[in-house]
């Protein structure tokens, strides 16, 4: 067996197989250690996958050695490779970072189930990323969603359970819509393989079931991706989840749904439905613009920092969506680059907040007053990541917004309007980041902070690695830019 040929299946199968093993380990720290090692291993594999995709093009893999479309095919292009790097990278950092917090928030008694569920989320998200089969997406969506509900339900606050119930209902509706859509496409084409679907849809294009399928798939995935106005479940789910879980999910879970949305719309529908690119554009562009303004406005008025960050994610997803809705090379590569950058930045911000939460036991804004004196490292990290979120030059947030601005300038009159939205959104981000900074640095403490000290070193190290990466990819963005460009080329390649 040559290992290199099987890298892509190892990405999914290893965390999947490790999950049941972890669920049986009741020894202190062992579940955590095993989850960390697995996650790191998968991260290394995904880097390797990215390298081979960049060097020699798409990687495919026939499960059970059955040829597609009879068997299930895995397929990785540039976009897929980038998603696997994001998911496994953030998972590794969040696990490393979360060790102390999870013991406090989840409790040692049931930690082994918690880490097993974490592995399932990891395997599920990666499984969605690498598959070339529409039904297989649904199966792994089920795994990752169910396991995500478990992770969030581990939150220390009992309100986590109501947040999770809401998420569960919305998530189930989203997945069901997706399945209805896939069912309709299957009815008309007789295939579940994306590449095969693209070819066979040409015979039945513009028939009603296909049009309805496109609608159901788009709306279902939009729900999963928390696209405005279908985002209502998301801020609360992040707020009440254990801190490390919020770090992991904020960077990955909605973006995977967005990724499938792009894949389905570009690979399967764009070519086969008359005027689909225009409809896609006109449907998503206003939503993206509203998401940016609305999400930022709510974030400005939020008094809980976790929820503030959640609404900020609604806005940031707007940027990604806006990039996609241009349906141009620049727009797509800007949007895709923002997937990468936002994952990095938002995970860092949630980490910083988690550090404070670990010491102060609160994420309410008022409890952050004066905290910078007690936790200088943590708050400095928050400031730097916040600056990146605003999109200041020499941080990761800048490069993607710059591409989006260039794409907007290409788009004519509507483009100027969107340009204004991007700039206003950035100013609003400045306002809500500043709100936290002002309180932490310039206001006297309202609560008793005498017993508060800096977060443990083992939390600060991963936090600062993330901060340095945010800065690094602001100064030298060549690696993610290369991936984003290749992804944009491949998405547009299906549109002729």
């Amino acid at each position: 067996m040559s290992f290199a040929n099987h890298v892509i299946i190892f990405l999914v199968a290893v965390p999947l197989a490790v999950a049941p093993v972890i669920s049986l380990l009741r020894v202190r720290h062992l579940p955590w250690l095993m989850a960390c090692i697995t996650s790191l291993f998968v991260f290394v594999l995904s880097i390797q996958l990215t390298q081979s995709v960049l060097h020699s093009g798409d990687v495919t893999y026939a499960l059970g050695s059955w040829p597609a479309p009879y068997g299930i095919e895995l397929r990785a292009g540039a976009l897929t490779a980038m998603m696997t790097v994001i998911v496994s990278g953030v998972s590794t950092m969040a696990l490393w970072f979360g060790r102390y917090g999870i013991y406090v928030e989840v409790g040692e008694q049931r930690a082994h189930y918690f880490y097993a569920a974490w592995m399932l989320v990891l395997a599920g998200l990666l499984g969605i990323a690498v598959t070339g089969d529409a039904f297989n997406v649904f199966v792994f969506m089920e795994i990752s969603s169910l396991a995500t509900y478990v992770l969030i339900a581990g939150g220390p606050d009992r309100r986590a359970l109501t947040a999770v119930l809401k998420y569960l209902i919305m998530g189930t509706i989203g997945a069901t819509f997706y399945l209805i859509g896939v069912g309709l496409v299957y009815m008309m084409t007789g295939t579940l393989n994306f590449a095969d679907m693209e070819i066979r849809l040409a015979d039945v294009e513009n028939l009603r079931p296909v049009l309805v399928a496109a609608g159901f798939i788009t709306v279902g995935l939009a729900l999963k991706a928390a696209i405005f106005p279908l985002h209502v479940w998301m801020p609360n789910a992040y707020t009440y989840a254990p801190s490390a879980v919020a770090v992991f999910l904020s960077a990955c879970s909605t973006k995977i749904a967005l990724f499938i949305l792009l894949k389905f719309d570009f690979f399967v529908f764009q070519k086969n439905l008359a005027g689909h690119d225009v409809q896609f554009s006109w449907f998503l562009m206003p939503l993206a613009a509203i998401a940016i303004i609305f999400g930022s406005a709510v974030a400005i008025n939020e008094n809980n920092i976790k929820r503030l960050l959640g609404y900020s994610s609604v806005a940031q997803l707007g940027y990604i969506l806006m990039g996609a809705s241009f349906v141009t090379y620049l727009g797509l590569s800007g949007g895709i680059l923002h997937i990468f950058n936002h994952a990095l930045i938002k995970a860092t911000l949630f980490m910083a907040v988690a550090c404070v939460f670990y010491r102060v036991r609160s994420a309410e804004l008022k409890d952050f007053a004066g905290i910078a004196q007690k936790m200088p490292w943590t708050m400095a990290a928050f400031v730097l990541a916040g600056v990146a979120l605003i999109g200041v030059p020499f941080t990761a947030g800048f490069t993607s917004k710059w591409l989006l601005i260039k794409a907007a300038l290409e788009a004519g009159v509507v483009g100027y309007l969107l340009l204004a939205v991007v700039l206003i959104g950035s100013l609003m981000a400045l306002v809500y980041v500043w709100k936290v900074v002002e309180l932490a640095y310039f206001k006297p403490a309202t609560a008793d902070l005498s017993r508060v000290s800096e977060a443990p070193l083992m939390m600060r190290i991963p936090l600062w690695i993330m901060v340095l990466m945010t800065l690094y990819f602001g100064i030298d963005p060549s690696y993610p830019v290369r991936l984003a460009n290749a992804a944009a080329v491949s998405l547009l390649g299906h549109l002729s």
Binding site: S65, Y70, A116, A123, E142, M187, G190, R208, P209, V212
Partner: protein
């Protein structure tokens, strides 16, 4: 005849659904949802999906009903009054309209020229005897051609089990409701002597039937999902008749997670063994010098994996609810 049956069953289905929504007594709602599942099973059966029908009957009508009854024992029997919002109805109408719209262009049911019957299906029908060597094409597709999806589904069930164990846990000594009490609270049956004796006679038959279904999958409808559910149903029946306390003694909670985990692990390991022997993941052909025999070995192993995990999760979920302290 076919049309007549179909129309009859579907009409009945709608009536039952409306009844479930409107009825105020939760006990009636549970019973009606059991009937709903049986009707669905009948629907699947006349569409020639006997294996799905079997699963629906075992899980939908059997275990789910029992779980609902166990939940009812912990809560009240009638629905609390609340003002109903019209939003769900609106959403439902908006979602249903396009589906109905889509059906105008859909191929007729069973039309041999429909794309569904023209593309991959003929290949499966033609190649299964030669490549897998078993008469049941459904098992061949589920277990081998699309075995990766089935692996995923087993992990969905595993995840559900982990979730329930994580949120509720199953505790040995906390069982507060005995089977008799549960039956009385849930069903209001005062003279439960007859069901008890009849039930006891049935348990070994149910367990034996589960084993038959498990190992019959290649030849007819059956397989791990159904077998695991039926086996669990037998033990759930036992704990209803003899009391959860007694069932927990026979089945200590410490053992349950092992069942939940080992089945899923077995399935995944089969995949890795195929890799180690030089094939792709889940390529059972390499398990034996004769590829067809290899496929058989693979299918039997993964079906056992499926059965064990489904059984473990079903029982865990039941015990997690039934053995909760009643307040």
């Amino acid at each position: 005849m076919f049309i007549l049956f179909g129309v009859f069953l579907l009409t009945f289905l709608i009536i039952i659904s409306i009844a479930i929504i409107r009825v105020k007594s939760l006990f009636s709602a549970v019973m009606l949802s059991g009937i709903f599942s049986l009707l669905m099973a009948a629907n699947f059966f006349i569409l020639d999906a006997a294996d799905v029908a079997l699963t629906e009957a075992a899980i939908g009508a059997g275990i789910t009903t029992v779980l609902f009854l166990a939940a009812l024992a912990l809560t009240r029997e009638t629905e609390q009054r609340e003002t109903h919002s019209r939003v769900p109805l609106l959403v439902l109408a908006i979602a249903a309209a396009p589906i109905i719209f889509a059906t105008f262009d859909k191929p007729r049911l069973g039309d041999p020229n429909a794309p569904v019957h023209q593309h991959v299906a003929p290949w499966y029908l033609e190649k299964t005897p030669e490549l897998i060597g078993i008469p049941n094409v459904v098992t061949a597709v589920l277990g081998s051609f699309r075995g990766y999806d089935t692996l995923g589904e087993v992990f969905v069930i595993f995840t559900a089990g982990i979730g329930v164990l994580f949120v509720f846990g199953v505790h040995q000594r906390k069982a507060a409701i005995s089977g008799g009490e549960l039956a009385q609270q849930a069903r209001g049956i005062r003279h439960h002597l007859i069901p008890r004796i009849i039930g006891k006679i049935f348990i070994p038959v149910i367990l034996l039937f589960a084993l038959y279904v498990q190992f019959h999958g290649e030849y007819g409808p059956g397989g791990g999902f159904q077998a695991g559910a039926i086996f669990a149903a037998g033990l759930i029946l036992y704990s209803l008749l003899e009391g959860v306390d007694k069932a927990l003694q026979k089945f200590p909670p410490k053992v349950l997670p092992w069942f939940v985990a080992s089945g899923a692990l077995l399935y995944a390991l089969v995949g890795f063994v195929c890799l180690a022997l030089g094939g792709n993941f889940l390529d059972y052909s390499v398990l034996h010098s004769n590829p067809v025999v290899g496929q058989h070995i693979g299918l039997i192993l993964i079906e056992i994996g499926v059965g064990v995990t489904v059984f473990g999760v079903m029982l865990s979920i039941f015990l997690a609810f039934a053995a909760r302290e009643s307040k």
